[in-house]
Assembly symmetry: C2
Homo-oligomer: 168 residues x 2
């Protein structure tokens, strides 16, 4: 069976919040991180760092950042590297592009995940839990696992009303 | 010839700043926008709007936003829809994910583009040029065309030092 085309995969990626208990291969996580680190970044500053969480650490993380669904085999915390950021606001864009590449690589592998926010009120406890140094800011977290079921909402997001030609 | 896999495309996308004069098919632009609008967004708010620029308008845009390379056949201005944004900072993340999907769809089609920032000091003139209404904030611009040459820097961005396992 041919892998679906990238254009198809870009359209069919959906948030996955419920997972099977099957483990995720370590090579898959490495491939996903390779995709993340080939995202574009402002002035090529690459202001991202990644913490891969599993087992007890993943459970403890989810107990703090309660908007992250539980039950994934593994997860990737994307952090802004503020020491690498060349102008205020760039790291958020770099880390957003990296997070989107993670979600797409996850989907291409038949895995599922969802972009969850790390709320600022949780950041200090997360930094303490994971011994994250000064200047590194937790940004997003993607739990990753085999989807428990096909996402219910496959509605295409395309909306012609949001396209304007040369003038509004 | 098989299309390269998504994982391959995620790794090989590079910024393209020089373009052939060949036109870009309108259906390609529609497919690229469909990919953009299937990006994830915070609480599914989809706080994005798009202005497709070509011809004179594209030239005038590039004369204002001088960090955008000239010579592309067409381009997409991604705007934050602040009326749709549910919490401050979400629209930047939504529009970053949409911009990244644009770049990947562009690459999948054998086209080239680059994520250029719309600097805030240019925003008012751009809003005036394109008659962009209140509450809509120009965010990024991707010029799109057939690449004049293969990007010089194909260095893989993977960096093992940026990966941490369960603790820093």
């Amino acid at each position: 069976m041919n892998e679906p085309s990238m254009l198809e995969l870009l359209k069919t990626r959906r948030s996955v919040r419920e997972f099977k208990t099957d483990p995720v291969d370590e090579q898959d996580i490495q491939d996903i991180l390779e995709a993340a680190m080939n995202a574009p970044s402002a002035v090529n500053e690459q202001s991202w760092q990644f913490v891969v969480l599993s087992g007890t650490m993943l459970k403890e993380f989810c107990a703090i950042n309660t908007n992250t669904p539980k039950g994934a085999a593994v997860g990737i915390l994307v952090c802004q590297d503020l020491k690498a950021e060349k102008a205020k606001g760039y790291a958020v864009q770099d880390c957003s592009a990296a997070t989107q590449n993670i979600l797409l690589a996850v989907h291409a592998k038949g895995l599922g995940g969802v972009w969850t926010t790390v709320f600022s009120q949780n950041a200090d406890r997360i930094r303490a839990l994971l011994a994250i140094p000064e200047g590194i800011q937790p940004f997003s977290f993607v739990p990753i696992g085999y989807p428990a079921r096909k996402p219910a909402n496959m509605k295409n997001g395309f909306d012609k009303k949001k396209i304007h030609k040369n003038t509004w």
